[in-house]
């Protein structure tokens, strides 16, 4: 096991740190074209941060003794299994999707994850800009 502690908190899910591997990200749900993933990219996409005590999110830490392989890369399969994240391969397209952690509740912590989304004209908006105000965040759709 390679111990590593990431000092930074992921600031946004707007951009992963390894764009060549992470095709898309969706809080829990990530689209990958390779299972070679750094701990930083995984943390940016999922909020689960690699620490000596395990994979941690908020106050929750899950020990994953085999989180890293011999080269220090994140063992996505082992971490996914331990955190209850479904890893589904699309063999035809050569991509994998990694679902959110499961086995508990939809929320692991009450801290709002970093959320950056565009407005209708494509201008990015970071929800952190609303700090200091109460926010009623409403999901709707045209359908």
């Amino acid at each position: 096991m390679v111990d590593r502690t990431l000092d930074h908190q992921p600031q946004t899910i707007g951009r992963p740190t390894s764009p060549e591997t992470l095709l898309a990200w969706n809080s829990g749900t990530m689209l990958l074209d390779s299972l070679d993933l750094t701990a930083d990219a995984f943390a940016d996409a999922t909020g689960w941060i690699a620490k000596p005590e395990g994979m941690c999110k908020g106050d929750v830490c899950v020990p994953v003794p085999t989180a890293f392989d011999a080269d220090g890369m994140l063992d996505v399969t082992a971490v996914a299994e331990r955190l209850g994240m479904a890893l589904v391969a699309d063999d035809e397209a050569g991509v994998w999707a990694l679902g959110p952690d499961s086995g508990g509740r939809a929320l692991t912590t009450a801290t709002v994850p970093p959320i950056e989304l565009p407005d209708i004209d494509g201008n990015p908006f970071n929800l952190a800009a609303m700090h200091g105000r109460k926010v009623l965040l409403v999901a709707w759709a045209s359908w």
Partner: protein, 235 residues
């Protein structure tokens, strides 16, 4: 509707932020232009907040306090009486419509109480009885099973397939997502609308998709029952 609430509560330090769950942002555009919002109005074409916040139908909302902490989890966010529940059922209506309206009348009316709770929170903040502690919010959020995680992964693979122009592959992934997490209506309605809404048209809420998905919104709504259609706020 949300714009009016925003204008009412903005002086109290509350902002509405709307997020459109539309694979094609242009489908949301006419609605946004009509509402002319002065609050942040965002588009989530990947359905990121489905998993981030536990959104499983629309409209649903979360409450976020001044420190970026959730004080209520995702729950059905009607803020006015349902016009469908108020509609009179007549013999002249098609049988299917009568059945759907009967189910709408089974849906507990939470709109006015939920709106009043938002206003109370805007006024009183953490002192509002409707604002939960962090532990309460996590416990009150919906359960997430391994099947739900797999459904999210399948839905995402469907989005990726659709984006590279492979619609049949997208449908196959979405059917898996629907089977794994039938209570998630955003996965279903998003997929169905691509079959039932002609290009450029606003919306077909009947979503008759027998030919492609072997079902329809009204089939599934009637099977689910109005009382179980959304995550009811427990106020």
């Amino acid at each position: 509707m949300w714009q009016a609430l925003h204008e009412e509560l903005e002086p109290l330090g509350l902002s509405v932020v709307t997020v459109a769950l539309d694979l094609d942002p242009d489908k949301a555009r006419p609605w946004i232009e009509r509402a002319a919002p002065t609050h942040p109005s965002l588009v989530d074409s990947d359905h990121r907040i489905d998993e981030l916040l536990g959104i499983s139908n629309v409209p649903m909302a979360v409450w976020i306090d001044e420190t970026g902490t959730l004080v209520r989890p995702a729950e059905g966010a009607s803020i006015q009486p349902s016009p469908f529940a108020a509609m009179e059922i007549t013999d002249e209506m098609p049988d299917r419509l009568q059945a759907v309206l009967r189910e709408f009348k089974q849906m507990p009316e939470t709109g006015p109480a939920y709106r009043a709770a938002i206003v109370d929170w805007a006024n009183r903040g953490a002192d509002s009885p409707y604002a939960m502690s962090p532990d309460e919010v996590v416990a009150a959020s919906q359960p997430r099973s391994a099947d739900h995680s797999r459904a999210a992964a399948c839905f995402e693979l469907g989005v990726a397939a659709e984006r590279r122009g492979d619609h049949p592959a997208a449908m196959a992934w979405w059917k898996q997502a629907h089977a794994l997490f039938p209570e998630n209506w955003t996965y279903k309605r998003q997929a169905w609308t691509l079959e039932s809404t002609p290009d450029g048209a606003d919306s077909d809420r009947a979503q008759e998709v027998q030919d492609s998905y072997g079902t329809s919104w009204s089939d599934e709504f009637l099977a689910t029952g109005g009382a179980n259609y959304t995550v009811l706020p427990k106020l």
